[in-house]
């Protein structure tokens, strides 16, 4: 079995972001960047599936792919240290739209003939939540998004998804595309020997032009602004004051 995991390098989720005053975007220079948290869950799921399949006739191979600048090799190395086998960086300095990313990944899926493609359900920078679903369309494969449990049952995949009304369990034939939600697993922190070992694993850096995909943007990002600020609040002295505030607020709602 071959598992392809697509990952993204983003502004670290613990960094308090700063919107540039000229409206051109979010400041990313001099800011800590790391693997998107949802992508870490996808890598961990692949490693756990490989571990569960140990001793099978053919061992599972995990291939990591990312699209981004040369510096994005650091998140691929993180995934290799977690237990993946080899990496591919599709190198570009451009800030590509999700549709272009999905088209590039579709080429890699085609080259690699992966049985299962895992991705994070969304990246915490643009919060798009598109690429897995688009990749499934472009490769004509069934999809299970927002996965909180994955298991291989015979020739099929059983996936439990987190949805608006609770959870649902689906069965999908392989090959398939799955996107990871946060409760899928707890990603491991690679120990130092694994980090050292990762540097010896194959990592191909390939220029984006090699893939022959039209990358021109479809949307125009006019500007990026900070959200409206809320008015300063106050601290109440007693539970009675709070009840009065709530009663007053509900009275206003009912009046509308």
């Amino acid at each position: 079995m071959k598992i392809l995991v697509a990952i993204k390098r983003v502004v670290d989720h613990n960094v308090r972001i700063r919107v540039r005053p000229d409206g051109t975007g979010v400041e990313t220079t001099g800011v800590r960047l790391s693997m998107n948290p949802f992508c870490k869950h996808a890598v961990e799921a692949a490693v756990q599936l490989a571990e569960a399949g140990q001793g099978a006739a053919s061992p599972t191979e995990i291939v990591i792919v990312s699209v981004g600048p040369k510096a994005a090799t650091d998140v691929i190395l993180t995934a290799l240290a977690m237990g993946a086998h080899r990496g591919i960086l599709i190198e570009t300095d451009a800030d590509l739209e999700t549709l272009a990313i999905a088209k590039l990944l579709a080429k890699v899926v085609d080259e690699e003939q992966a049985d299962l493609v895992l991705l994070g359900k969304q990246a915490v920078d643009d919060d798009s939540n598109h690429v897995g679903q688009m990749l499934a369309a472009l490769t004509n494969r069934p999809q299970a998004t927002f996965a909180s449990e994955i298991s291989i049952v015979g020739p099929a995949l059983e996936v439990t998804r987190e949805i608006d009304s609770g959870r649902q369990t689906l069965s999908l034939p392989l090959p398939a595309i799955v996107t990871a939600d946060l409760r899928l697993n707890t990603p491991r922190n690679a120990a130092l020997p694994m980090v050292m070992k990762a540097r010896a694993k194959p990592l191909a850096v390939r220029p984006v032009a090699e893939f022959g995909v039209d990358l021109s943007p479809r949307l125009v990002i006019e500007k990026i602004n900070p959200p409206a600020e809320r008015a300063a609040g106050r601290t109440l002295g007693s539970v009675a004051d709070l009840a009065a505030f709530i009663a007053d607020d509900i009275a206003q709602m009912e009046a509308l």
């Binding site: 502004v11 989720h13 972001i17 919107v19 979010v26 549709l99 999905a102 915490v124 919060d127 939540n129 598109h130 690429v131 679903q133 688009m134 499934a136 369309a137 472009l138 069934p142 999809q143 299970a144 998004t145 927002f146 909180s148 059983e158 987190e162 949805i163 608006d164 009304s165 609770g166 959870r167 649902q168 369990t169 689906l170 069965s171 999908l172 946060l182 409760r183 479809r218 949307l219 125009v220 990002i221 500007k223 990026i224 900070p226 809320r230 609040g233 106050r234 601290t235 109440l236 539970v239 009675a240 004051d241 709070l242 009840a243 709530i246 009663a247 607020d249 509900i250 709602m253 009912e254």
Partner: protein
């Protein structure tokens, strides 16, 4: 301009989100509303009653993304816009549809500025993007909480589509959260609890206050991870986005990803022992105190005042 809106439904009822998506989409053109599912006659009736709907289309089959996206792609030729709620179905199917049509979608829209201009939050709501979409066809998802519900009283025609929707995916089980509280994503009042509750049993205190106020119940990611509340109660960047008139946050310090889900709330009340907690700083009013003492006292005070909603 012609608009196709995909309806959301759950447990045999039209989802409250759909009335809001219809209201939002009336700014774009005349709306046909598509209802897909297996026992949908009653849902189609509710859909036909929404103001702004020209026609309701019904299709048999599952909501699995592969079949549903193919169905929408076959219909899309007749429309300038295909629109869905940014809920779990819309998020699942619309990017797939967009890729089938070679269109870049615009998702999680909170403001429709014009026929091709939209605002959407990024970075967990810490920045807002203004996007122009000049493509010939537009694939959009709207955040239900950012729009008012459409009025009812309409009697649009209902037309059944002939072919069923096929999918490679089999639904094995639905694990539903049973609750008699209102829909979280569209509720007027929400009471949310954090890990400070300490257990699933204690979390019932949040539910008790919510019921007293006719409010929906929400939870932080940490409270859901700890097993105090089901996953569909999670509010935040990766859970539900809420925009109630009143949000009462209890024992919630205010992690960035939680704050992302509540920025649309008109009024925020925080109850916390820590006066320095980010959510206390953000709130319109805060009460510093132990939630296990203050919530029963608050319920008693509300009873004394005869507050109802």
């Amino acid at each position: 301009m012609r608009v196709l809106v995909l309806a959301d439904h759950d447990a045999g009822l039209l989802a409250p989100a759909t009335a809001r998506i219809v209201q939002g989409a009336t700014a774009l053109g005349a709306i046909d509303l598509l209802v897909v599912g297996d026992d949908i006659a009653a849902i189609a009736q509710s859909a036909a009653a929404l103001a702004g709907v020209a026609k309701v289309l019904t299709g048999k089959g599952s909501l699995a993304a592969d079949g549903l996206a193919a169905r929408l792609a076959a219909l899309a030729g007749d429309y300038d816009y295909v629109v869905a709620s940014a809920g779990s179905v819309g998020k699942d199917v619309m990017p797939r549809l967009a890729a089938l049509l070679d269109v870049m979608p615009v998702t999680d829209i909170v403001t429709i500025l014009g026929p091709t201009r939209f605002e959407r939050p990024i970075y967990a709501g810490n920045a807002v993007q203004t996007v122009t979409d000049n493509q010939p066809r537009h694939i959009l998802t709207l955040r239900a909480s950012a729009f008012r519900p459409a009025a009812t009283g309409n009697t649009a025609d209902i037309e059944a589509l002939d072919s069923d929707i096929a999918s490679l995916v089999t639904l094995l089980a639905n694990h539903r959260t049973l609750s008699d509280t209102p829909d979280l994503a569209t509720a007027q009042i929400v009471v949310g609890g954090g890990v400070a509750l300490g257990s699933a049993e204690n979390f019932q205190l949040i539910e008790k206050l919510a019921k007293r106020l006719g409010a929906a119940v929400g939870a932080t990611r940490a409270a859901v991870d700890a097993g105090y509340a089901p996953n569909d109660w999670q509010i935040g960047q990766t859970g539900k986005i809420i925009a109630p008139d009143l949000y009462i946050a209890i024992g919630i310090s205010g992690a960035l990803q939680h704050l992302a889900g509540i920025q649309g709330a008109k009024k925020i009340v925080a109850i916390n022992t820590d006066a320095e907690a980010p959510l206390v700083k953000l709130a319109d009013v805060a009460l510093i105190g132990d939630l296990f003492e203050t919530i029963p006292q608050l319920i008693a005070e509300l009873d004394k005042r005869g507050v109802t909603h």
